[in-house]
Symmetry: D2
Subunit: 341 residues, 4 copies
């Protein structure tokens, strides 16, 4: 494959330094596949990385973003896991195949961070980084699985899934929370959503949530959860707010319940009262996206459940800065960049 | 069984109101056993209850303490689980047989709290509250199992036990921590103890700990744990300090590691940074003693391992106030009251 | 409560010795509840017990069957778990609350076996044997949960539930298998049913199964499972046939898959080739109905999922022998006896 | 690295066709390490492969055996997981990193089978196949970990480890069984060994077993297990005999117990009665060695426990046929071939 391709790069810290450049299309080495990128889904984390003012350690440009769907257009020597023409996703933390997290210097290496990003017309990556795309989704929707989808999947499924008849609480209406609404209600769980926006609560109910709690009207929202569950509390809670909100989540927990701590929009330092966690033998588990086996299972689940990820808007590759601004405003679901014709 | 017996009672809040009284020996009702109490082990929680200034809800006197070893001397109609002459322990939370905690009004009912206490020459209790005592321990040592022993057991075993070669961190040298040192080292785990007292560290090492960290000399003790484990961190941590210490524990955690939150000596409100919990997919689990099945397993384990609980001192029944003062000073292991001849 | 009531009794081995008798309505003792039985669901096991020619050990008459739905009409002293007027189910193995099976002389005591049966207008039972009935089902349908429903629930849920996108195989169209079809498809699993009857396959598909395999037309049915799953195999298989069929199940298993061995219609001695179990690290687990906590969870699940158990026919109390004959013919789903007006 | 090396090869089926040849020392490709083999441990499986009369599919010679300890002497481009001079083991099924088995055409690819063997002075293998050797063992003992050691580890640890006070049954005194005796007793479990040889029982007890049962004197050996456990039965059983013996194992099981099916010396077709598995909710799990993460954990456990594998005899590389004959006679523990000076 010869020729040039477009990609977004950052050489100096700060979003203002983003540049759309032209570089040579890479050639896949032994064990690598060349993928024609079709869609790239954005995450809150991409904003944090682009807006960081810390000096960059590497002299290589940062190619941002982690989540892509595309098509294999060429393969290097010895590749057996994928073949030309196959639709694929890239795993978010591709060195972590299964089991407990595989870390390097205390951090799970991920695309668009310690590993190269995907906001490019083509990427050449080791074949072991790729997973077959879902048959039932187009590239735009498929591109939302590797980070937002897998985070919801891991939080719900990888440490004892909620059972039919159990209660799941999700917070807000970002991409992870909406995936969780769809997945948990498909499992037969009763889903309660918290949000500060009446209209978004209504849209979350349309996706399968049984109840909505307006966070500003009911700041002690755990009381509403206890009432809705006859005093039992919630069996699984996806905590995305952090800070003091974790204390509310702990007080909302059922006996034997579990909190998946996945986001900290209101504070990286989290706080909670110990006694309710004692009396429930409750669990708080940190969740950082998930492993490749989880992504493979999620793809099968999406195909079987015919689950349709919620995409709020799509943008052309040139319009990546506008897509980021949409992210700043707090979308309902995902913002996706279309790449190529 | 006729006659009178001694027991400690509290009718008004505050330790000063404790009284040693004489009351009739109870007669076991259908389904109950009458137990001649031989030894009662004290817990930090007994101090909290006795020192509380909150007005008491019940008009019945409070009989303090939860942990006893004794002998069945009579049985009511229909009793099949125990027989006369059998040595027994009482379960701490006797309504909780197995599985997730059984709560009433949000609290796990326990002896010496929502349920009657055992600081009495005799107690009549439902047969289902009793468990066979270990063959290899005398009554004084056996009495330490229901709360301190079971808490360590639950923290170590009931949510994925540490494996040989893994690292367990215990904090301080109270009863629970010393049980954990003995149990975890018997499992083949490498145990690291933290304490603010050099001599106590030495004694903990004599019980099986591989390493000691002086908490005051090394306030950021997680760095020492990371060094001792070649950067891997600890697989299981028994958190008894609470408050800000939980943050150190979270930073000391290995990938896939787990913190059992069992005590909060320095603060019921606990705090930690979210990022290290994300990067390890670490777990924080609240632990409140444990269920009856756990106590039955612990008894078998103690008999097989020939584990000898650490008793710092014993007191006569009359000297219960002096035993409490010993507890105030922070014992090394357990303080036990001998009951009867 | 005074007066007489009807109940079925067996004093000598053999179904021909069944008698409908009149006895005094019992008075609930302390800790007991008197239940007005409304519906009794029959199980294959009831046939085995009634048709056994072994001499009976007890001189008390056998009251057959285990599964009832009814209403509490009186309570004995000290009862707090249920109240008058409450609709209830009896747990199949009521001494087994949670955790591993509670056995007496190597057997899990169950109603209509080692414990009294329920084919009676009233039963007086310990309050701990009762569980709240589902709100969304009438008594006839509710009566099918304690044995057939709970067996399917335990097999699917209590040892790692199937995930959305995974494949579940159920065998035949008896009560347990049809519950499993309904539950597993509600969980997002893909369900494959095997049966020797084309029409029953069609009816199972109407309940949620994705595929049917005709067992006589495809004796090596595991090949069809492998084809339908792209060579992956089934993640969970409910084995009800036994004998040589277990070998087919083992060969149909996916990597990491699990067989719940719940029935042995074609042989109590089961056989399988070891190598496919090695290569999948597959699991075979014996399932004998389940514990009381499972029944409580199933009730919540049924109410949330609005799951409607399949009842093939109902009979009046007098017509119990005809109901047994229906069972002999192999019903599609459950056969239920209505008790009382 | 230039020059020639010796290695054993088989070009036609049958042990008689084994030849010690001289071939060029391989050069490590990108991502590969060249390992100087120091010791190779033999397994019963090697005999099965060498004695098979089935025509060979591949035209490449078979290099037999799977388990080696050695030293990295050179690394190819891009290797980061190991470095020159490091002592290493090769994983038995090196493509299976963690989680459920990774299969190709229904089989877990393993060294000396679908993947190349190690009975050679040097091997060049992908770096991902290698694991750091234990610090506390020499090469001969270390070479016994990848198959026999890991099989015992997987059987004991990867599906709920035995707890202190629980009972483990191991069968015979081959390499896997003796590892299990050592590991399980180090975990605080009570180990019962069955064997047909009084002297071997005595030696197994010297390694940590609490009891021995002579299989020929007590063919219904499950009765002895039940007596030794006060009727409870065994919590974990390592089944290596297969055939009808599985039925004895099932009858020896405790409530909630587990059988790891790891060998089938007396029959690949296994049989058992279903009822005792129903009444215990017991589990039978197929075990085929294990994954790379398990081997990494085993190495740490061996170093912490100072566990010394039992080696019955060592042979020089030239004497491989004699080592196989030793294997034919049934060693006590492992037979190892020393490679190089």
């Amino acid at each position: 494959m010869e020729g040039v391709m477009k990609r977004w790069e950052l050489r100096e810290p700060g979003r203002a330094n983003l540049k759309l450049t032209s570089v040579a299309i890479p050639t896949p080495k032994p064990g690598e596949a060349l993928v024609r990128v079709r869609a790239v889904s954005l995450n809150y984390r991409d904003k944090l990385i682009l807006d960081s003012t810390a000096p960059r350690a590497s002299r290589e440009p940062l190619v941002p973003t982690s989540d892509m769907a595309g098509e294999v257009v060429a393969t290097g020597e010895g590749v057996t896991r994928v073949r030309k023409g196959e639709r694929v996703l890239a795993a978010f933390s591709p060195l972590w195949v299964d089991g407990p997290p595989v870390r390097v210097d205390g951090v799970i290496p991920s695309l668009g961070g310690a590993l190269p990003g995907v906001l490019s017309e083509y990427v050449a990556v080791p074949e072991s980084w790729l997973v077959a795309a879902p048959r039932t989704l187009d590239d735009v929707k498929a591109s939302t699985l590797p980070c937002a989808g897998l985070t919801a999947w891991t939080a719900l499924m990888e440490h004892g899934a909620p059972r039919p008849g159990q209660t799941v609480v999700t917070q807000g209406t970002g991409g992870v929370s909406l995936f969780a609404v769809q997945l948990a209600s498909a499992l037969g769980a009763r889903v309660i959503v918290t949000s500060g926006d009446e209209e978004k609560l209504a849209r979350a109910k349309a996706l399968g949530a049984a109840h909505g709690i307006h966070r500003r009207q009911t700041p002690d929202w755990e009381q509403a959860v206890l009432e809705l569950t006859g005093g039992r509390g919630a069996d699984v809670i996806l905590e995305v707010v952090g800070g003091d909100n974790l204390g509310h989540s702990v007080r909302a927990l059922a006996s034997g319940g579990r909190i998946a701590l996945i986001g900290v929009l209101e504070g990286f330092e989290v706080r909670f009262p110990a006694v309710p966690l004692f009396q429930t033998h409750g669990i708080i588990q940190g969740v950082m996206v998930g492993h490749r086996r989880g992504l493979e299972e999620l793809v099968r689940a999406v195909d079987t459940l015919r689950l349709e990820p919620v995409v709020d808007a799509t943008y052309a590759l040139d319009a990546f800065p506008q897509a980021l601004e949409h992210l700043d405003r707090g979308p309902f679901g995902k913002v996706v960049v279309r790449v190529g014709a």
